[in-house]
């Protein structure tokens, strides 16, 4: 198991085994122009990364496009990820990666603000005016046809609060099943709250592997698990 460490990072960089990501959370419409400029710049300087591209990078160790790859990641399953970020990614030919807290999507819109405030999901001004904050399952299904969607647990939990088999089933296994039921395709990756790394808890590593995820995203690296 590869634990995060400064030595691990040095070795990965020295081997050329790295990739650029940009982690976003809320992408409010009020900031759409700023996001558009940023994504346009990324699309000019970097290449999109599809799931196949990432698979190929792990298989060969070598990035195969002319420009370096860049993965824009839009966390949590905000409605504005589907309505603001995704269309801009498409405008500039970028593949977005969307880790989704599946129970946030499942939550009745009336209670989504409370859900967010209960589960470390940040809110911006437009989220506090009532109405739906999370994307709908139809939006999730639609996104999955052009981008990469995968679970960010069910309830936006870290491995340090997922303590027993029931917790694991709910956060690791059932979140995957919920997503796959609407996308009709295997959920290829998983990420804990706080981006905790694989290799820190055998119980949680085994859960992610046994659930059949191909990748675990973390704050220091991307782990190929299966």
């Amino acid at each position: 198991m590869t634990k995060p460490s400064l030595d691990t990072t040095r070795a990965q960089f020295a081997a050329g085994h790295f990739i650029r990501v940009v982690n976003y959370h809320s992408t409010p419409r009020s900031d759409a122009a700023e996001l558009e400029r940023e994504l346009e710049g990324f699309a000019r300087d970097y290449a999109p990364v599809t799931l196949d591209d990432l698979d190929r990078l792990f298989e060969t160790g070598t990035w195969h496009k002319d420009k370096p790859g860049l993965i824009p990641v839009f966390y949590e399953g905000y409605r504005n990820s589907a309505t603001v970020a995704a269309p801009l990614c498409e405008k500039f030919g970028l593949t977005g990666w969307f880790p989704i807290a599946t129970s946030f999507v499942d939550c009745d819109p009336e209670f989504q603000e409370a859900f967010a405030r209960s589960h470390w999901i940040s809110l911006v001004e437009e989220d506090k005016q009532g109405g739906r904050i999370a994307m709908s399952w139809d939006e999730v299904a639609d996104l999955s046809t052009r981008h990469v969607v995968f679970p960010h647990t069910a309830h936006h939990e870290g491995f340090d609060t997922v303590l027993d088999e029931a917790d694991i089933r709910r956060e690791v296994v059932e979140s995957k099943a919920a997503l796959e039921a609407v996308t009709g395709q295997p959920a290829p990756a998983f990420v804990w709250l706080h981006g905790s790394s694989y290799g820190q808890s055998p119980l949680h590593d085994r859960a992610v592997k046994d659930a059949g995820y191909r990748y675990q995203f973390a704050n220091t690296m991307i782990h190929r698990v299966n």
Partner: protein, 108 residues
Amino acid sequence: MSVTTPPTLDELLAAGDIQGVLRAGHERRLEREGIPMILGLADERGTIPPSTDASALATGAALVEVVDEYTAALVPWARPDDEGAVITVMQVLAMTHFAPGSTEGAAQ
């Protein structure tokens, strides 16, 4: 009344103020702004073949030097496997060597 403009990343770097870069990164509106990172790759099933891309290898070698520099500047107190310290170094590295307008910028 005069208004003080915060120093830019380039100005902070020119002054060798790595702590200032870290502070600037954490004072951004992180709930709505992109957070750049350069992530390593780990294959838990085995070994990733060595990269044959000279450009990636050169960039990686340069990044190792930056990791060493920022480790010394920010987290010399840390165990090598202190995940929080690793993330701190990688955050600052990404701000200065990947983010738009950084010293790396579009050159890579």
